[in-house]
């Protein structure tokens, strides 16, 4: 069994409630930070921990925090990104609904560290039922003196609110999220300025993912060095992996970074192998945006070594032969899966979710969906594969926010690794269609 940090008490009955959470050491980090540490010392521990943003980008959290501008007399904010919308990802939902107080605690400790007096949790609208769970946890935290005025007699004040979205993948992009929180359409902002300088209401703001903030209590309680000891190299700590697709045991697993991909897929502790005794065909390892890899490439590196579940190992081989850890949305596909049809669901997704601000993304995602639709309908020609390739190449890097890249990478990687399947599909769509019966 690997080290558990976030889900250490996941199986304790009643851990959702304040009393049980507190009995298992909950809110100790707030007490320790406020009573015995300076805000700067908390930031220092987070830097030492090597914690990286768990939403997908993997940017070092301590460094992100240190960019936060602190002009006199200007409020600053922490906004928790609970907009979890990356297809294949459901770990934040799991964590918030099972152990809501770990997020509340993490936000209080982090807010103290950054001198923030008002924080928001921006949660996707589809998770409305979790709003109630979070509101209850926040209420309990207020009632027990962890939120509100003069916390633990320190003179430090903090208010924490939940803010609900209304269905828009783009709002997981931090500047779109801030626009949405201001009551606008979720159109990403041009950066710079970064939120650390001009974020919510034009004030300095840190936006962190649920899982990132939830790791802060452990780091404060045990020290950044202890956290850094878990995991492997620059992939410090644990990662929540959302496992789905054709596996025997889908679900959320907290892994210590550095286990092999093979172990993750086949061991009983995690996914328990491919369902129905089938063979693994491909994996999308970090949410829909990251490059898809065929079985041999996800299991092994080019040099023959086993690939590991870590930022570095998953990226090994670059975009030609590697992928990314991303949000940890791990989708496994068995030998019967049509890569073309799966890609169609991604292309349709990105077209639906493009905010429409940038032409390459707005037009390109529509084209990609249409071409794949045409393939599935059996009307495509071989040159459509090249057209698909050209379109994705023209989107990548040409948009304000990373949604364009996110839409392009799955298409590029599917063609790169499975071109012959696209060709077969174009030549004889009916033969392939029989297995998955995609109706469009």
């Amino acid at each position: 069994m690997g080290k558990k940090i976030l889900l250490a008490h996941d199986h304790v009955p009643g851990i959702q409630t304040y009393e049980v959470y507190r009995k298992h050491g909950g809110y100790n980090s707030v007490e320790k930070a406020i009573k015995t540490m300076s805000p700067e010392a908390v930031v220092e521990e987070v830097k030492k921990s090597g914690l990286r943003g768990r939403g997908g980008a993997g940017f070092p959290t301590g460094m992100k925090w240190s960019f936060l501008a602190k002009p006199e007399g200007v409020p600053r904010y922490i906004v928790c990104n609970a907009d979890e919308s990356e297809p294949g990802t459901f770990k934040d939902r799991y964590l918030m609904s099972r152990i809501p107080h770990i997020l509340v605690e993490g936000m209080i400790t982090s807010s103290f560290a950054l001198g923030v007096n008002t924080s928001y949790i921006y949660i996707r609208g589809e998770y409305f039922y979790i709003v109630n769970i979070l509101e209850k946890a926040i209420e309990e935290a207020y009632a027990n003196g962890w939120l509100g005025k003069n916390i633990l007699g320190s003179g430090y004040n903090l208010d924490l609110f939940v803010h609900v979205g209304a269905g828009a993948y783009i709002c997981g992009e931090e500047t779109a999220l801030l626009e949405s929180l201001e009551g606008k359409r979720g159109n990403p902002r041009i950066k710079p300025p970064f939120p650390a300088i001009a974020g919510l209401y034009g004030c300095p703001t840190v936006v962190n993912n649920v899982e990132t903030l939830a790791a802060v209590p452990f780091i404060v309680n045990e020290g950044g060095d202890e956290y850094a000891k878990v995991g492997i190299g620059k992939s410090a700590g644990t990662k929540l992996i959302s496992a789905s697709g054709h596996i025997n045991k889908p679900g959320v697993y907290e892994i210590e970074m550095g286990i092999t991909v093979e172990d993750f897929i086949y061991s009983e502790e995690y996914c328990g192998g491919i369902s129905n005794g089938k063979k693994l065909k491909a994996v999308v390892a970090g949410g829909s945006s990251v490059p898809i890899l065929p079985a041999d490439k996800i299991l092994n590196l080019a040099n023959g070594e086993k690939r590991l579940m870590s930022y570095e190992s998953l990226a090994d081989g670059g975009f030609g032969g590697g992928t990314m850890l991303g949000s940890g949305g791990f989708i496994a596909m068995d030998e019967d899966t049509s890569i073309v049809e799966n890609l169609f669901t991604f292309a349709r997704f990105y077209h639906h979710e493009s905010c429409g601000q940038c032409s390459p993304c707005r037009e390109g995602t529509a084209w990609m969906e249409k071409i794949l639709h045409k393939m599935i309908d059996g009307h495509a020609t071989l040159s459509d594969i090249d057209l698909l390739w050209e379109i994705q190449a023209k989107i990548e890097g040409n948009t304000i926010c990373p949604l364009g890249d996110a839409a392009a990478w799955p298409v590029a990687s599917a063609i790169r690794h499975f071109r012959s399947e696209f060709e077969e599909y174009v030549k004889n769509p009916k033969a392939i269609n029989k297995v998955t019966r995609m109706a469009v």
């Binding site: 459901f90 609900v164 269905g167 949405s180 201001e182 979720g186 789905s244 596909m333 995609m438």
Partner: protein, 178 residues
């Protein structure tokens, strides 16, 4: 002005939400208030409902329209009492989302995007709802229905019919196994 307005109880909730944002930034409450309006005014946002929300926040009506039209969860047309939202993205597709949609179409006698003639059900295919590990899934109101089978879908439809009431995102639902 139309006579559409919140009940006293909902208005109190709306005011509590507005107070969560700094002075002068009450527009932040727009999305939460549109949710309240949709839940209270028959499951969709009519122009009158959006105008009313705009008036509560002292913003232009157009500001409410442009936001309401951006987000997938806001219905700008009437929908059935039970809006069935079936996830169709990769992980759900891999585990049979298309069959679920087809089964619902057959069962309800409508196509995806349509409302049954009795006004009870609207069927909508949606993008990833974060339920990939328990696929296939559908959402009705705030409730996630997961690991769907045809039998399970039938039972859920039956319950909806028997209850006969409108499901909204604001419903207090029984938490699923997560």
């Amino acid at each position: 002005m139309s006579d559409i307005k919140f009940s006293d109880e909902t208005l109190a909730v709306a005011n509590k939400i507005i107070a969560r944002y700094p002075e002068g930034k009450q527009k932040s409450a727009l999305i939460p208030l549109l949710h309240l309006a949709q839940a209270e005014f028959d499951g969709w946002l009519s122009p009158a409902a959006m105008d009313y929300v705009a008036s509560l926040l002292n913003i232009q009506n157009i500001e409410a329209y442009e936001v309401a039209s951006f987000y997938s969860m806001f219905n700008l047309q009437p929908v059935g009492k039970c809006l069935i939202e079936v996830c169709r993205t990769s992980s759900c597709w891999l585990r049979g989302a298309n069959e679920v949609i087809q089964h619902l179409e057959n069962k309800l006698g409508i196509k995806e995007g349509e409302t049954s003639t009795d006004g009870m059900f609207t069927l909508k295919a949606v993008e990833c709802l974060g339920s990939c590990g328990t696929a296939p899934m559908m959402m009705i109101g705030a409730q996630f229905h997961e690991n769907l089978t045809h039998e399970k879908v039938d039972a859920i439809l039956e319950t909806c019919k028997q209850e006969g009431k409108r499901k909204t995102y604001l419903d207090n639902v029984v938490v699923d196994k997560y």
